[in-house]
Amino acid sequence: MLTVPSRAGIPIASVRVALVPLPTPHHDSLADCEVHQVRLHAATLPAEAWIDAELDAGPAASAGASEGKKKQWGWTLFSTQVPLDSALLVGAREAALVAYATDANGERQELQTAWNLRGVAEASWGVVKVKLAPEA
């Protein structure tokens, strides 16, 4: 059967997730909001701070696999376990989990999309915040 690749879809090769204690040090930026500061700080983390998430290959397709098996549709689900390093979180009451994706062409997700009212083409690094249980 002839398969027609998507014109725009590019397989995701990896998703990396890191833990960032809050608050973060302030980084000079035009945007002063918390989530942007979190992203800026995450960008300074060393490579070992990032965890490679497990990608869900999906049925009969695999991101990063041989050309014939690369998925031609957009979505790639991922999951991972992020250890909460107690030493890293000393004194912190909150933390943020930050993620970015890289596609099969080596393009990395943009750190912060330029703000616009309707949020068109928003593709900033994903961030989710959690509260930490009180220290014992």
């Binding site: 689900l77 992020v82 107690s86 994706a101 997700q109 083409a121």
Partner: protein, 98 residues
């Protein structure tokens, strides 16, 4: 929970000007921050991403997440990524009930 099909026009006053639209959006409860872009419309199609993700334009609303996690443990994270037009994007959420 935000209706993924909801558009900006449905939540804004019909006589809103561009300036009042922005002001209106600033005062929406965080969970009602409607994803206004096509890319975020996709994100809303997954239940996991509708309740614990930062809103689209972070300058509009505060982050939304009330989960409390134990220290010295680990958290399960899940999400999705898409490699559209050479601009990969991903969105994540805690794995569990919101």
């Amino acid at each position: 929970m935000t209706d993924p099909r909801m558009s900006a026009d449905k939540i804004l006053p019909p006589d809103a000007t561009p300036a009042t639209k922005e002001e209106h959006l600033k005062h929406l409860p965080a969970l009602q921050c409607v994803r206004l872009s096509n890319s975020l419309l996709h994100r809303n199609l997954l239940t996991l991403s509708t309740c614990s993700e930062f809103p689209l334009n972070c300058e509009i609303c505060d982050p939304v997440e009330d989960a409390v996690v134990e220290r010295s443990s680990s958290v399960s994270v899940k999400g999705y990524a898409v490699g559209s037009k050479g601009a990969p994007s991903c969105s994540l959420a805690l794995d569990g009930p919101c």
